[in-house]
């Protein structure tokens, strides 16, 4: 490991206990490395017991369950919006200027400057957020797992090359790089997927690589190799199941990070474009109206906060359940 790895390791080694390590990659403008516990210290136990235990433990974690329930609700609202929003609330369309209305029975979250129902827009705004969360993290996972696996399993020059490239990516402040990339790709939801996805792989690759390194040296891997198993077989049958736990935890938390990043990009006008509602762009429109119409600021922000928090709590719970933690 390089010094940076050691340093991160130091930071991580401090994290333990149920709620103290929110490995939440997107802070204001940067990723201070994956603050994720115990990448290297996964308990190498037979797979079946691990998952079985994990489920039992997850069920006992109240906060994680709350997170899970909230995420489920948000997803359900997002998917079913077309079915019920238009029936109960005014169609989110242009009605004219000067139509700012305070929250009422008809418009529970009030209306925006051109008379659109804010509640409907917050519900519809969950769509870009959730889809970015899932799709961008999938892109990161795909890239990160492949590169991390290559790096960790084969080592040598390939490892050095991939890890140096990851260093280059880490050298950029996160938000700055995202914006530079979007400047080239152009704004829009699709490019937000790509940008967040591309920039997420190095963290995943690093985490996965160190998991693999720690699992690789186990006797059962040696045994499999002695029995003449192919690389792919060893990878999928023996290494993956034992190295994947940190990735699941990290992936869950990354969804929260991707949602915040999407909101930030839309707030800066580089993400989802008007008139499509998104939480970030709604906040951007709310800027000048904070005083006369605080509901425009409060609700979309609240939606981001609770959704991200739900993913963080879920991630925390999974981390504990999967026993991904420092031995200390």
């Amino acid at each position: 490991m390089t010094r940076e790895d050691k340093k991160l390791h130091d930071v991580q080694s401090g994290m333990e206990g149920p709620r103290d390590a929110g490995g939440h990659p997107t802070k204001d403008e940067r990723v201070v490395g994956p603050i994720l516990p115990g990448a290297g210290e996964v308990a190498a136990r037979p797979a079946r017991t691990l998952w079985g235990d994990a489920f039992t433990r997850l069920r006992k974690n109240k906060l994680a369950i709350i997170g899970l329930v909230w995420v489920t609700i948000v997803i359900a609202l997002a998917l079913s919006a077309d079915l019920w929003v238009p029936r109960f609330f005014a169609e989110p369309t242009f009605t004219g200027f000067g139509s700012l209305e305070a929250p009422s029975a008809q418009h529970p979250f009030g209306t925006d400057r051109i008379g659109r129902d804010v509640f409907s827009r917050v519900v519809y705004g969950s769509r870009p957020s959730l889809s970015v969360g899932v799709l961008a993290v999938s892109i990161s996972l795909a890239l990160g797992l492949i590169l991390g696996a290559l790096s960790g399993y084969y080592g040598g020059v390939l490892d050095a090359f991939i890890m140096r490239t990851a260093d280059v990516f880490f050298a950029f402040p996160y938000m700055l790089f995202t914006i530079a990339l979007l400047a080239v790709l152009g704004p829009g939801l699709q490019n937000v997927f790509i940008a967040i996805g591309i920039l997420g792989w190095p963290s995943i690759a690093r985490v996965f690589r160190s998991s693999i390194l720690s699992v690789k040296e186990n006797e059962y891997v040696d045994a499999a190799r002695a029995m003449g198993a192919s690389d792919l077989r060893i990878m999928f049958r023996h290494i993956m199941p034992n190295a994947i736990a940190p990735i699941i935890v990290y992936g869950t938390m990354s969804i929260g990070g991707a949602i915040i990043t999407e909101a930030a990009l839309s707030y800066l006008g580089m993400g989802v474009q008007a008139p499509t509602p998104s939480w970030g762009s709604m906040l951007s429109e709310a800027k000048a109206l904070m005083i006369p119409a605080p509901w425009l600021t409060i609700w979309p922000g609240f939606a981001i906060l609770t959704t991200v928090l739900a993913f963080v709590l879920m991630g925390d719970g999974m981390r504990d359940a999967l026993d991904v933690k420092m031995k200390d």
């Binding site: 200027f97 800027k287 000048a288 005083i291």
Partner: protein, 548 residues
Amino acid sequence: MSERIRKGFAILLVAALAVAMMAGCTTTEGDGETESDATKGGTFNFYISEPAFIDPVNLQESEGTQVGQAVFDSLVAFDPITSEVIPAAAESWESNDDATVWTFTLVEGAKFHDGSEVTAESFKYAWERICNPENESEVAYHLGVVMGYDEMQDGTATELEGVKVIDDYTLEVTLNYGFADFEYVVGHPALAPVPQEAVEADPDGFSEMPIGNGPFKMAEPWAHDQYVKVVRFDDYYGTTSNIDGVDFKILADQDAAWLEFEAGNLDFVPIPSGQIQTAVATYGESSDGYTVNPGKQVSLGAEQAIYYLLINNEDPALADPDVRAALSLAIDRQDICDKVFEGTRTPATGIVPPGIVGHKPDAFEYAKYDVEAAKAKLADAGFPNGEGFPTISLEYNSGSGHEDILALVQEDLKAIGVNGELVGSEWAQYLDKLGAKDYQVGRLGWIADYPIMDNFLYPLFLTGSTDNYSFYTNPEVDEMLDEARTTVDDDDRVALYQDIEKIVGDASAVIPMFYYRHTRVASDRVIDGIYSPNGLFTFDTVELDIAE
């Protein structure tokens, strides 16, 4: 023990917060507290975005010009409401009979902020500085009419042949052709005098902290992206200002400026879209649209600018004036103003906007909404109900919201049976298309450099003028335009321009769409502030209520 930690923590937080808030108070209110008089003094907090230049040598956009106007005085100034020429650095001036030679008499004893004297030489030096190609000025064209301009631009001369210093207080300017409105040209803030010694001692320093002859002097160099601070110049030759100074606070976005206004930290800001009705209800509307006073704080007056549709007069389908009149009559301008601009534009009834000397309402006969008349005109032209009329292209530069406007135009035209097709292109490419006559109907905005009718007629309708993108040609109009320029009598000249506007309007050479309007609001401590039709705020006469 942890009890103590807890207390310490709380005390620290409270202390930090308290210190912070005290600091907050002193910074913003300190300015006013030094003065005891309720109506004199105070610092005006004026919002601008980052200017391109504040040095007259390249004073071009609104933000820099706003600063330049406070720091510099040109030969003449404009009445902030009527836009008429009034004396400034020159106390009087006259031209010869064909308006080719102009003599300006300067105010004696006027001083620059560094104490040196403002003389005719200062003007000659400043103008030559602008025309010197080495200085890469983008505003040199203002002096294009002055004899010797071309020679300076191509580097064959180092002096403006047409500018002569008769004595310290007399400046004589010879033009290439008669131009009776030249007195308006010299009112442009870029044509202000500069002190030669100070400029030559430190040219870069001068651009950051210009030394002018205006009512305010720079207090410190321009802090880029932060502020420009000017204070009252007590040796000003005119009436010294009522306020202590102006802090031009530079903010990159208008939403932040609006918040600062609501927090009481800015005195004059643009109103964000969606807020205009509310602002009028809360702060009250200025009675004349320009003068702001407590309770009448919102300025919604017309600006000296117009948004118009171009018609390719050479296009076979559009060569018939009746067709063009029909198109003009078919457009519901008020509807577009309401839908797209929230009432921040007013329907145009001519090409010359209000606020220009000689503006006449309803100058264009067909610049109004009348579907029946439109249908009749179209029938006169041989296309009853639009039958047989080809589909025309409606072109615009993309990315600036023009699509919404032209989409509404498209709907209006459909009502009289004319089909249009929207075509957007990038700005540069768009201008190329216009210049190549490769369009049928397009759009442009036109903003006055000086508040004169010539500015809206000569460049737009003279045969062969580069800005005549509608390719209107009328030898009679060409002749009248030249005649007007050399007509020295103000009333005769304006009457001539009004005739020209009528002829052009009867031919529907272009379709006037909207006049731009101000959308700004002042704080309740601004007394008699005037936000001119030219988009510049007048600091000379404003007062601040600092009695708190």
